[in-house]
């Protein structure tokens, strides 16, 4: 049987493999190579060693976007998970209309980032116009605007995962805790939350990577505005996250493409580091159980 299957390589594996090479493998390695080059198009690439990376680490707008992203991610991960956890907790208590609430909280998740950005732009501008401001007039507005938008979008998704987690906690654990005389808050802290640890890990890392890689919402809501002028005369977009910053470095100016590609590689390394940390935590938990 095995031998026979091997002959079917052409039908079973080859189409996907070819597409995978075109859509991922080749662009990925070419991307790494180009991060060491000076280029405007792929054909005029000249090898320049690490100079792109050195420039990337001196690029103030890139560093600014990095810290902006870090701050955003921390606030976002904490808020989304707290909201989603408690909404899921409430919805699994057997209240009426739980299904309607679940729908309401989940549907924003299906709307694309660009459209979400414009929906919230109208809302925020409608509120801020009363104070003579707009969403792009102050970086603080942009920051919290993005946070509110992301909570609105992502809380429902995480809620679904938490609900599945709550439902998989065996009921007799609660019963045993009650018989032992545990109070409600003791049950939550000593039974529910430890049993929910796998869901909490999953949701934390999902929100972490999602917020870290955020692009569409950022582009549509503020586009990175407002700007300030750095010491060397370049303008720094105050509410720009890393993905958007890399995109702009790349496409706004044909001369900085090598730097943009190097920044993309740095971005990639950070994301991989986050994912490896997740893998470590997931594995460790599996060993314990």
């Amino acid at each position: 049987m095995l031998k026979k299957k091997k002959q079917y390589f052409l039908i079973f594996l080859l189409p996907t493999l070819l597409a995978f090479i075109i859509g991922f493998v080749y662009p990925f390695f070419q991307g790494i190579y180009l991060s060491f080059c000076k280029f405007i198009t792929t054909s005029d690439a000249q090898f320049v060693g690490f100079s792109n990376y050195i420039e990337a680490f001196q690029d103030e707008s890139f560093l600014h976007s990095f810290w902006f992203t870090v701050a955003f991610v921390i606030v976002n991960v904490v808020l989304i998970n707290i909201i989603a956890f408690f909404v899921a907790y409430a919805l699994t208590m057997g209240i009426k209309g739980a299904n309607i609430f679940r729908t309401v909280f989940f549907v924003p998740n299906l709307i694309g980032g660009i459209i979400l950005g414009y929906i919230w732009q109208l809302i925020f501008n409608g509120i801020l116009v009363n104070f003579g401001e707009t969403i792009v007039s102050n970086a603080t507005f942009g920051f919290w605007g993005l946070v509110i938008l992301m909570c609105w979008q992502q809380a429902g998704y995480m809620m679904i995962i938490y609900i599945a987690g709550f439902q998989s906690v065996p009921g007799d654990l609660y019963e045993a805790a009650r018989i032992d005389g545990a109070t409600k808050s003791q049950i939550l802290g000593r039974v529910t939350i430890p049993m929910m640890a796998p869901s909490i890990t999953i949701c934390t890392f999902l929100t972490l990577t999602n917020s870290f890689k955020l692009f569409d919402q950022n582009l549509a809501l503020t586009g990175g505005l407002p700007t300030t002028v750095a010491a060397d005369g370049t303008s720094i977009y105050q509410t720009q996250m890393m993905a958007l910053n890399i995109y702009n470095t790349f496409y706004a100016n044909g001369n900085s493409r090598g730097v943009g590609q190097a920044e993309a590689v740095i971005f990639f390394v950070i994301v991989v580091a986050i994912s490896l940390t997740q893998l470590y935590f997931t594995r460790r938990r599996e060993v314990q159980q």
């Binding site: 049987m1 095995l2 299957k5 091997k6 390589f9 079973f12 594996l13 996907t16 493999l17 597409a19 995978f20 090479i21 075109i22 859509g23 991922f24 080749y26 662009p27 990925f28 991307g31 180009l34 792929t42 909404v87 208590m93 057997g94 209240i95 009426k96 209309g97 309401v104 909280f105 989940f106 549907v107 299906l110 709307i111 694309g112 980032g113 660009i114 459209i115 414009y118 929906i119 109208l122 679904i160 995962i161 599945a164 609660y174 999953i202 949701c203 999902l206 890689k213 692009f215 582009l219 549509a220 993905a243 890399i246 995109y247 790349f250 993309a264 971005f267 990639f268 994301v271 991989v272």
Partner: protein, 283 residues
């Protein structure tokens, strides 16, 4: 489980509280809906008021939205539909076969392919955005047909990962029995394995649909924008590049692009929830 069935005051309070939160939660969408029937000046002057006799615009915004700019909206809708449906079917068809091959043949080569696929799920799009769009351009994949191949390649990671995980749980004896009965690999796969894989098909299909339908940057960089646009690209263009943006038309188009999503949700609610949970556990 008396936790579930008692109607305590706490629970009633919670229901009322969640109802209020829900109303606030859907407000943004309601506001967009209301604004889509108002005149442009009324939208920017008072976005939170109901339309009155002066500012009520009827379906004018919708008509304008459909024809605004030099690119008709229905072509974008058609492109989005075609790319999403085509891309998801191509991904499901090709990757399910590959995943089965990978986990059954299980050679060194297969393992390398598999680990590369898992790896590709982690890589952020910015890493390959330029090189991928160049490659697609060189190979003339900048049409709605060609982009399907790009989606198959870039979306293969998650699909192969989920399918392989599932195939490993199928007892191989079933396939061996089919083999003894004289079925070749093709018959075995389509007749025996495929029906068993149905739940994973639905989960992967839902996840890939949500991704492709809302994707902005990949089609923006790969497609020939003068000829083909998807809905997110269309809306971004209306807002971004024409100096004088018609905010009424944009409201109408936002409403029009949310409608298919809501229909999709209510049509496959149960599967979406399951898909999200399955994807989370494995991702």
């Amino acid at each position: 489980m008396d936790r579930k069935n008692k109607n305590t005051p706490g629970k009633i309070f919670l229901t009322v509280f969640l109802s209020v939160v829900s109303v606030v939660y859907v407000m943004p969408i309601i506001i967009i809906l209301i604004n889509s029937f108002k005149s442009k000046t009324a939208i920017s002057a008072s976005p939170f008021s109901f339309p009155n006799a002066d500012s009520f615009y009827g379906f004018k915004n919708y008509i304008e939205g459909m024809t605004f700019g030099n690119f008709p909206f229905w072509i974008s809708v058609a492109c989005s539909l075609f790319i999403t449906v085509g891309g998801v079917f191509l991904i499901l068809f090709c990757t399910s076969m590959s995943a089965w091959y990978i986990s059954r043949v299980n050679s060194v080569f297969c393992k390398i392919v598999y680990y590369f696929c898992v790896f590709s799920m982690v890589v952020p799009f910015q890493m390959v955005m330029y090189t991928l769009s160049k490659t697609a351009d060189t190979l003339k994949l900048n049409t709605p047909w060609g982009i399907l191949i790009v989606y198959l390649g870039f979306g293969a990671g998650l699909a192969i990962f989920m399918f392989t995980g599932f195939v490993k749980s199928i007892p191989i004896e079933i396939e061996e029995a089919a083999g003894i009965d004289g079925a070749g690999p093709l018959r075995t796969f389509f007749g025996v394995v495929l029906p068993i894989m149905k739940p994973t098909f639905i989960s992967v299909g839902i996840l890939e649909t949500m991704w492709i339908w809302n994707d902005y940057l990949l089609p923006y960089l790969v497609l020939d924008i003068k000829k083909f646009r998807t809905i997110p690209i269309h809306i971004q263009y209306l807002n971004g590049s024409y100096g004088q943006t018609d905010i009424g038309a944009i409201m109408a188009l936002i409403v029009l692009s949310i409608i298919p999503i809501v229909i999709f949700y209510f049509a496959c609610q149960k599967h979406i929830i399951e898909g999200v949970v399955a994807g989370a556990v494995k991702g």
